[in-house]
């Protein structure tokens, strides 16, 4: 279904017939049908894959979502759910024959229960709003993707998003207590609940990270944490990435669990300084290590001393630290802007997302360097070092013929390297359309078949986000061709 007919007038004759039904549910202004307006929804954060949806529907409530999904179910119209569209694996790539259900109007924080440290939100609520809503009372929401000021909680749930502070506190799944779901036949179900311990199968855990293939979460109960008494960020700079990597291993071995622990290499440092000019990252450093410690003031002070000693033992040239919020923000700013900076210093970039066991860090980084040289593309390394979640940024120029294909191949080699090293295909960006062809690197046929069974339970007609997450007969080469279609987007007839 995916990517078919892209050069021909679409086959979705159902549009005219069904538009009225959608409008009856969400109102006239809740259905986007004009070609120029649909353009906005062509892609998510991974702009290489583009496809215009037949229609966009913007519900406001669980009941509206259920009614919209039911119309799709009855008319066998495939659909894709979209949050803020910041995803990095093309999970929200629309179908030209399908409906895109966008949660942009579902932005209410429904309940704040400080006593029990939980908040109920609609899926379109922006990640950062949760912390803003409870910060005054001394709480925050822990999972913090770099895109947290624009990404939505619904999208975070779909992708099981992580962030720089997930080393100590866990990714999204560790913070979701319960969900109200609309499943692909339009039924509304509740999974999980108000407390952590719930009997029955853990369907909440199953749904988090299911990338829109099992339904849409319309109410999300998340837990919030107390703001720690003290927070300190340390920046150490090294003359080799091995030394930075060894420091990470030594910190963990010492039993210290920092709130976050990130490495950036020289290429990333300079990209960031070029673009956001933090002034904090030494441009001549081979790599820098950022460590955030939190807890009681006495604990943070003691751990700061230990981390500093470990970094010095491993040859850190200099150490900077910040306890006040303003300087901490400055130290993190460059890291949080790393992807955007890569986009500024290179015509195009492709961000990879793989996981390796921490012990393989130095080996894998060395291998990535070899691959970078072999393929002739610069690779900037920025990563969640504490949990081995790498984000190599491959810099390239899309205008050079054949570049994308080579970059995709290089990206694939890096992923295979991660899996071969005992790691995983994705840390936090999901599989989506971008990596589904690599799933067999990690799972055998029967493992994947088991997941497909589960998918069929919820999604028997295959209408919810078809073509995503699971490898289809489509090869990776075909995916590469699909990307090239981007150039033809203006030639489409509609």
């Amino acid at each position: 279904m995916l990517l078919k007919n892209i050069f021909n007038p679409p086959q979705n004759q159902w549009r005219t017939k069904i538009i009225g039904q959608f409008e009856a549910v969400v109102g006239k202004d809740g259905v986007v049908r004009r070609k120029d307006e649909l353009l906005t929804y062509e892609c998510d954060g991974i702009t290489g894959y583009r496809q215009r949806p037949a229609l966009v529907v913007l519900p406001r409530t669980t009941e509206q979502v259920a009614a919209v999904v039911k119309i799709c179910h009855e008319n066998e119209i495939p659909w894709v759910a979209r949050g803020a569209g910041t995803g990095l694996s093309g999970g929200a790539l629309p179908l030209e024959d399908g409906v895109l259900i966008v949660t942009a109007r579902m932005k209410q924080i429904l309940k704040v229960d400080l006593d029990n440290q939980r908040v109920i939100v609609q899926p379109g609520v922006i990640n950062n709003w949760v912390t803003q809503a409870v910060n005054g009372a001394g709480f925050y929401y822990a999972p913090d993707p770099s895109s947290q000021i624009i990404c939505s909680i619904g999208g975070n749930v779909a992708e099981n998003s992580g962030g720089v502070h997930c080393l100590k506190y866990g990714v999204t799944t560790n913070h979701v207590l319960g969900l109200k779901l609309v499943i692909p036949d339009g039924s509304i179900i509740d999974v999980g609940g108000p407390v952590q311990e719930m009997p029955g199968y853990d369907l909440t855990g199953l749904f988090v990270g299911s990338e829109g293939t099992l339904g849409i979460a319309t109410e999300i109960t998340i837990s919030i944490l107390k703001v720690p008494e003290s927070i300190c960020v340390l920046l150490a700079d090294f003359t080799s990435i091995e030394a930075a990597g060894q420091s990470v291993a030594d910190i963990i071995s010492a039993g210290i669990i920092p709130a976050g622990m990130e490495i950036m290499d020289n290429l990333s440092i300079n990209a960031v300084e070029d673009v956001v000019a933090t002034g904090c990252y030494p441009r001549d450093a081979d790599s820098i290590l950022l460590v955030e410690l939190d807890g009681l003031a006495v604990e943070v002070a003691a751990n700061k001393k230990r981390v500093a000693e470990i970094c010095q033992t491993n040859g850190a040239r200099s150490l900077t630290s910040a306890n006040d919020a303003e300087t901490r923000y400055k130290l993190w700013k460059g890291r949080k802007a790393a992807f955007a900076a890569a986009g500024k210093v290179s015509a195009n970039y492709f961000v990879q997302d793989g996981v390796i066991p921490r012990t393989q860090l130095v080996n894998v980084l060395r291998e990535i360097n070899h691959l970078s040289e072999k393929y002739g593309y610069r690779v900037a390394n920025v990563f969640h070092a504490g949990d081995g979640n790498l984000h190599p940024l491959i810099l390239y120029d899309n205008k050079v013929a054949g570049a994308w294909e080579e970059v995709e191949e290089l990206g694939g080699e890096i992923l295979k390297l991660c899996v071969k090293s005992g790691g995983s295909l994705s840390g936090e960006h999901g599989i989506g359309i971008d990596k589904n062809c690599y799933m067999p690197e990690m799972f055998n046929e029967i493992d994947l078949e088991t997941m497909q069974y589960i998918r069929s339970c919820f999604n028997p007609k295959g209408l919810a986000n078809p073509g995503k997450m699971f490898p289809t007969p489509r090869t990776c080469g075909e995916a590469a061709n699909a990307r090239k279609l981007e150039e033809f987007k203006d030639a489409e007839l509609y």
Copy 2:
């Protein structure tokens, strides 16, 4: 299927035909068939439900488990998996027409990887053995059910077991990285993996806590933690349970997350002192609060001071604390022996397991007292106060006619109270055969149907642990009758 024909010679004519097939897989000594030997397997930790299995099979390897399950699948023989048989909801209650697959011979620790803080075990490995295996190197396995010296990791996975130290570190599901599974058609699948972040559906999370209804875990990859630098246990004694409960709320509100936080009431204190004579628990206290703090020495010292202040503000009569292992052990010993002690001071006891939001603690305890008075049975309260997981122990005498029915009714009232207060039916003991009739208190028809769909994916013939976890047409009254059959067990013909 369950409990049928209990007065008649069983219908399992398949026994004679199939025994040879099982023996070919696990050897002659791997099949238990004699009536007197089968007695051992009649019940698990909840002795009220008893039923003799047709056969017991004792495999040693994944391949043997797969072959045994395949024989059951092909011959449509229902089966139940059993770990150490310490479960408290009858999850491992056998079927008289069925096979009991016991993991008692699968006791190998297959791999210890200290660098990446993970251990791979067979399901029959005893919980405590994991910590013993890695403790010398400074690590431990966090989930610690009170039965940890006898319960198995496989059983912990099936029930998603908790323990007194799960407040800070989470229950079993938070410590399982991956599983090798034999699913009910005899296929072997791998779910999860060596690192925390894995793409695809979280089938590991789905399986943990599935109570034997989806298959058998034959290899379990668990994560281990570093032993903290310092551990301190505080014991505070109070003249009212309200004051103890308020201290718990205030400790959490202060942002302190103790490793464990437990309350015992006067009845439990005296039962424990009668039986294990710790000498530490003041017999005249209305209730005691045990708080374990761990972390860096400076952190523990600071938090100890804060906890002590909170307890004093709430009227604690006395405070004892212990930093050394020996005294800490003494302080915990009574709590860990609480269930066993109840069994000594009363002819029989029934332990309930419900969860409530922490803010409802005082209200719910008051209500339980009212219920105890109304029904005329003493209820001892011992509980994981930090996460609101109550364990009311109802003391009764089975010889008194009608006692059990009243106790079951009282237990049910307590569960309904937990659910009504915004909590849950089970914190850590599972649903099994004991609570499946209460599932509709918590889940509506469509929620339960969704779980049944999932169950059918793995278990389409319904052969794996039938009759457990989900409410069957059987009413709670029928379950009560089933218990009475216990008295007739010697009259059974075989």
